[in-house]
Amino acid sequence: MNKINKYLVLPIITSSTLFTTVQANTITWSDTSDIYSMDPHGQAISPTLAFLHHIYEPLVRYNKELEIEPSLATDWEVVRPDLWRFTLREGVTYHNGNSFDADDVVASLKRAIHPDSPLRGNLPAVSDVRKVNSHTVEIELNGSYPLLLNDLTNVYILDKDWMTEHGALDPVDPTKGDRSYSTTNTNGTGPFVLESRRPDAETILTINEDWWDDAQHNLTRIEFTPISSDATRVSALLSGQIDMMLSVPLQDVSRLESSQGYQVHEIAGLRTIMLALNQSADRLGQNGLDSNPLQDLRVRKALYQAIDMDLIRDRLMRGKSRNTALPVAPAVPGYDASLDERFPHDPDAAQQLLTEAGYPDGFTVGLDCPNDRYVRDEEICQAIAAMWARVGVNARVNARNSSNHWQEALNGGSDIWMFGWATLPMLDSFSILSQVISSPNNNYGAWNPGNYQNDEVNSLIEKIAVAQDEEERLAMIARAFELSKADIPLIPLHQQPLIWATKDNINVPQTPDNKVRLWYATVE
């Protein structure tokens, strides 16, 4: 009898495990680099924050249309321009079973704005956080500030008791030598739970059965594997080892599209690629002239008009980039379609402008580019150098890895240099106005080593920073873009495409911020 029972039970178990494996919906996906840390306040890198959003949650979040919606906070009101009150969601529990309340929010935000916190820069306006009652908190700002909600989408909430228990109440400080528990362990409120992690190899998440929100996904497991080599990543997808990849190289799109069982997802990204023109130096590093031709507006305009962006889009970018006249993408608040018209490509006009400016035979100039940062960065620079050569400007292309590139460019050592700006994490035009367009001071202009200066634009930026009325604010942003566009402090090129590829049976929303949100993903 016993024996028979054994034989009867066994097949039932196997068939039920079989059944669950059929139901198991795993997504294995890959991008170029690994998640840096499991601590949501440990760094401010977009892809890492995007991944940790599966485990931890902020007070407010973006949905798949990139609109801000309630998350751990259900409601908020502006008490005074410098004081906001948030009502917190009830009945939310952490992965370890602890319940979520105001103490956690206070501890987490204070941790994020701690002077040692790498995330400090993501909450520039917050000066203090107070608990009102168990599910209400007040956030005090150091002045009027319209972008608090944008900032809060990137600051995740941790359990205070858990942090206290493991000595992780203070943020990780890379300059001090202690191990932090939160760098390798997690305890969030999010839709997925960390199961295991081997850095640079794989990070595995399973589902959080007790998630407070209605799950729109049907996943049971997420496996993330970074693969830095483009060709290897494409191979991994084509050989079926992964289900989804980000950063598909442009030249491999047609190959993936023509392969059975795969689909390619494309969208114009937020990141605008531009050339910055150094107007500060009295002479340029690379031309032996005693003057700096880039200080002359006519020269800047000539360089602009000599570039044929349509040709670059059609050939180098395989028709997938979006040429732009503004330094922000359409999805960024503050974008104004009426301003988005490039000065036309016109080599003759460019030649004419150069002659008027006193450089009929052109001049020599350095063109510095990263070679590991943007889509076809180095190739774009080479193509631009060829176009400039036709109007007599001899550009010396100097392509390097981005760390070297930034070091030299941000210290003012480059003549003309390429950079990209996605306005992340803020996701607002103010990001680029304050750090690229504004002339350098303590708070602003960190990315304006070329020292572009327009006092009217500067004062507009000061006003935008504190504007409360959204319509008025957007109008001022448009005006600032209009004024600075006429000055040509930089040459906007295009928004680069975001290309993902998945197997046919996977549905996942793609947003211009290039963040994966697998709580919207389904597997068929």
Binding site: V234, Q251, D252, L311, N371, Q382, A389
Partner: protein
């Protein structure tokens, strides 16, 4: 004058009669290999005259001509015999100029490393003691740095020292120096290993007994006997030098893509491996393989022919 001619003549005759030429004529593989090597070197030297386009003149490049297939394939253009790359550059011309740079970097760095390595290796083994210890410790330090890093360092220092307008032209010397400095250790250690054995042999002891100077003993007696392994290393190293150069351009510190070497061309073309633009990577690869293979075959033959013990 008469005696002069006679001397020259006898020199020539000696060469004609030598074992070297004899063994050369006996080996068809070697003849083919040397023909290939000399054709490539000649083509590379004459690149400015025989290349149909000047790939360094950016004003002639047009994206309109980008990614054209070779002339005989549908869609190809007769002016670009082997097709064009992503920038509209003629692949054939780029290869000729690229081979020129690769050969120059390869030969110069190998010569530099060999001279340095052999001298230090001989010195270390023969003198021994503190000199040996010092040289070999320096060698340990040098070799523990991947060439890539040394190149980064030298590159960085060069950037700091040189005025900006010279930096562009200095890249090639930086490469030669960097590759040479990271590969000399192999020669030094190989020479030292062999010399340590040779120096206890009877013939060296005999030479010492009859009062020959150390320098003479090293140069005339020991060196010829340790040259075999050195040639093996040198021939293989010519290939390594060219490949290291490719790897460095992979990291953005090699020859810039505006003045590509063969390695740079392959690195750029490698990105197109999946997308059907095969000519960008296949042709430079074939040239590189031919070059490396022929150099190695020549090296093999030279080693066998020069080695007194194998006659």
């Amino acid at each position: 004058m008469n005696s002069e001619t006679q001397r020259l003549n006898s020199g020539w005759h000696r060469f004609i009669d030598s074992d070297l030429l004899y063994s050369f004529r006996r080996s068809p593989v070697t003849i083919v290999a040397s023909v290939v090597v000399f054709t490539l070197i000649l083509a590379a030297l004459l690149a400015p005259w025989i290349a149909p386009h000047d790939p360094f003149d950016v004003s002639t490049l047009s994206l309109l001509n980008s990614e054209l297939p070779p002339a005989w394939v549908e869609g190809g253009d007769a002016t670009f015999l082997l097709g064009t790359d992503g920038q509209g550059r003629d692949v054939l011309s780029a290869m000729l100029y690229g081979a020129r740079i690769s050969i120059l970097v390869g030969l110069s760095s190998v010569a530099f490393a060999m001279v340095l390595g052999v001298c230090l290796g001989l010195l270390a083994a023969y003198v021994g003691g503190a000199v040996d210890a010092t040289i070999m410790r320096i060698a340990d330090i040098m070799i523990s740095f991947p060439p890539i890093l040394v190149a980064l360092l030298i590159n960085g220092v060069a950037r700091g020292i040189l005025p900006p307008e010279m930096q562009h032209d200095a890249v090639i010397f930086v490469l030669i120096l960097a590759i040479g400095l990271t590969t000399w250790v192999q020669y030094a250690r190989t020479v030292r290993g062999s010399t340590m054995v040779e120096k206890n042999r009877e013939y060296v002891l005999a030479a010492r007994v009859i009062g020959l100077r150390s320098r003479t003993i090293m140069a005339k007696h020991i060196l010829p006997n340790v040259i075999g392994p050195i040639l093996v290393v040198a021939t293989v190293n010519l290939a390594i030098a060219i490949l290291i150069e490719a790897a460095l351009s992979f990291l953005g510190v090699g020859m810039p893509p505006t003045e590509p070497s063969l390695g740079t061309l392959i690195r750029i073309g490698n990105e197109f491996l999946f997308s059907g633009v095969w000519w960008v990577v296949i042709f430079p690869s074939i040239v590189l393989v031919l070059l490396v293979l022929s150099v190695n075959l020549l090296g093999d033959w030279l080693r066998d022919a020069l080695n007194p013990k194998l006659r």
